[in-house]
Symmetry: C2
């Protein structure tokens, strides 16, 4: 069934059945699947095939870059290096070693004698993931999906078509070797297949969309399936008056330059009166690192070399070595700026004042709120979740880095001995609820 | 701000601020709010006002019923009796006694020396609830929302306009007495205010829709805010060949007749060969209770008095004393029927065979799956959740009866000492993840 010629609903139905079988198998089977995939990524002949497919994608991508159609960053992310494959294999082994949560009993309650309620963890079912070019996202996503007993339908970026196909083919081989139906993982191609995926209400349980804000918005407005969007990250660092200059500069530099295209990179630096030294050191190291700085009038009064920021800067995710800088009156004004311009992703305060830190941490409405740590830590691996399928800026279901917990739901199971509800109520039986 | 003349966005902004203040107050404040509301519902002068408002609604509703525009059931549900008010006050006190979950630390992990990650529970923010006529839903919903530090915008059924207004007014008085800003609870009126509510993306965090399937579908397709829908419940009981006749009849009778309009009521009875005696006893007690039965040909061959069911019956939620009955070949066929026709709400098997029960419980994809217990137990109070704002048939965020847990989300808080992400990686620092 899992061939390119079968219809999308047929392939997803086959994936669903394969996923359901895997979810009911002993935990060992899911672990074996991940270990087999890790082994495959280290197999020399698999690596040859991956390299050939990736090289072909890279030839086209470099030609597109020469025509100005693709960025250097995208070409770099497309390249599957030996080091990346090593990290991927290690990640799959770490994920395999994590406790199995399929069927885990989350809570149990005795409603009455012989009437026991339990809440048990279970897979969502079929997860659709539409993501950008990076082919190394494939084993991460498949690993998380299979670890949690889900089936998965993937669609990667056009530039990585051959790399993604080679990757899925390698993973299919690994699954077949340990007796897991490869149909649980199906690779979609082309925009029309994505459109069709988004219409599979009732068959697909969740769509995870990773890409530009415009792309995620398109998926969210057209999908009939619930969507967890991983899009914009407009993150702030606020320099409190007690921030030390070295710590401030170190955090700001890392948050801006470690990986400027990431959604957890810093976009706007806020500072209050008293933080002038921390600001000055931050401006110095950022300028040395080649970051283009755009300031509000108060910032430019101190640092005349900065370009002028305009009102659109506070709402812009540069994704590049550009940073806007704004003076705010105090912590209250910083909170107000973040509330108005932030994307509820990751926000950071740099301060030596514990009360200010507590206030900031208590009051910012975002998935991740940090004190004296770079925004770049907002990441599934760094958080110790093993891996992530994306970072959710929504508040429902999963928030922040989405790891295994975000791919699970639960069912309420009630085991009785012929109990009926009409036996309970005023003047009748009472629930124990123990 | 919280007056009928202020705009919807202004009232919701005021509600958000009041809710945020309540969520940051000590837990005692939220408890006090619920106890004050319980006291109000037992205050004789409040009861007088509620009775007058409710009587006025009832006069109109009875006139509408006489014109054939409203059902008897709706008029009954509209009536606020002393007994109902007593149950509501008790429910609020039980909810007040539950542990406070706002700010609860759900997990903590040391990423490295001096770099500590915690996941903390927090309110969603502003919850919009659009529900049917019953005015007793108001204190339940407000109680759950304030217990979890949320603000709430409510819109009830048109028939209960005066009752709902009197109820909200009583609750506002109670909140003011314990120093909680009544703006946290705002009552909407009219369809246009509901439409406007559904457009408040970014201001309203979750909409809970309770009503007919058509109404919930309307809300889900037009809302820009995420929606948890509480709509159809097409629940099945499957009589396994080992089901005893008395237990089967008792469960089926309760599931169908205890409250036929409820979403957790039984709509289709499935039976397999070997369950003829359980079927016969079920048919006997259902007929005695005045239930109209519609059978498949195989069922009618045994019970010739049944009307014939057609294909639409398997997809119909009667909400009334009507039941369809179908023979299936075996448990596998029962699972297939439920997969195809069920609404993922509540499904039940009656069997003496533990292996069959385990198989059914493991394989049915529904919010609630029961063994030898009536489908009517699928309810927040009966599950011991204290209360419910609805029953979700979706798989994301909250599943089944939605109590306090469904009104909370979480934030990731990271406390460091100047840590930067670029310090970690191959050949550099390693995460501890303890």
């Amino acid at each position: 069934m899992n061939t390119d010629t079968a219809s999308i609903p047929d392939r997803i139905r086959a994936a669903k059945i394969a996923g359901a079988t895997l979810s009911r198998a002993p935990a060992q089977r899911r672990q074996d699947a991940l270990l087999a995939m890790a082994d495959a990524l280290e197999d020399p002949s698999v690596r040859d095939e991956l390299r050939q497919a990736n090289d072909a994608d890279l030839v086209d991508a470099r030609a597109a870059r020469a025509r100005g159609e693709l960025s250097d960053a995208l070409v770099r992310r497309l390249k599957l290096t030996e080091a990346k494959l090593e990290v991927l294999a290690t990640g799959l082994r770490q994920l395999a070693a994590q406790p199995d949560l399929v069927g885990a009993v989350l809570e149990t309650r005795e409603l009455d004698d012989g009437l026991t309620l339990s809440r048990e963890s279970c897979p969502l079912g079929v997860i659709g993931i539409v993501f950008e070019a990076r082919p190394d996202a494939v084993p991460q996503i498949v690993g998380l999906a299979l670890r949690t007993g889900n089936a998965v339908a993937l669609k990667g970026g056009r530039e990585a078509t051959r790399s993604n196909a080679a990757m899925v083919s390698a993973l299919h081989g690994a699954l077949a070797r340990v007796g897991v139906d490869p149909a649980a993982v199906t690779l979609l191609s082309g925009r029309s297949e994505v459109s069709e995926l988004l219409q599979q209400e009732g068959l697909v349980d969740l769509v995870i969309a990773r890409g530009s804000a415009a792309f995620v918005d398109y998926v969210q407005t057209t999908s009939k399936v619930p969507v967890v969007g991983h899009a914009e990250g407009l993150c702030h660092v606020f320099l409190h008056s007690t921030a030390t200059a070295t710590m401030a500069a170190s955090i700001v530099l890392d948050a801006k330059t470690d990986y400027p295209a990431a959604c957890n990179a810093l976009e706007t630096l806020l500072w209050e009166p008293g933080a002038e030294a921390a600001l000055a050191e931050s401006v110095r190291v950022l300028a040395s690192a080649g970051v283009a700085l755009r300031g509000c009038p108060a910032t430019r009064a101190l640092h005349t070399q900065l370009e002028a920021a305009d009102d659109t800067d506070w709402d812009t995710e540069y994704g590049d070595l550009v940073l806007s800088v704004r003076r705010v009156d105090d912590l209250e004004a910083a909170l107000h700026h973040i509330e108005r311009h932030g994307s509820r992703h990751t926000e950071c305060i740099v301060t030596q004042d514990a009360a200010a830190a507590d206030d900031f941490l208590a009051r910012v409405d975002a998935a991740c709120v940090f004190h004296n740590a770079s925004t770049r830590f907002a990441d599934g691996y760094r958080f110790g979740l093993g891996a992530e399928v994306g970072i959710s800026t929504g508040k429902l279901h999963a928030r922040g880095p989405v790891g295994v917990a975000g791919l699970l739901t639960y069912r309420w199971l009630l085991r009785g001995g012929g109990h009926v509800a009409s036996a309970y109520g005023p003047g009748r039986r009472r629930f124990k609820h123990e």
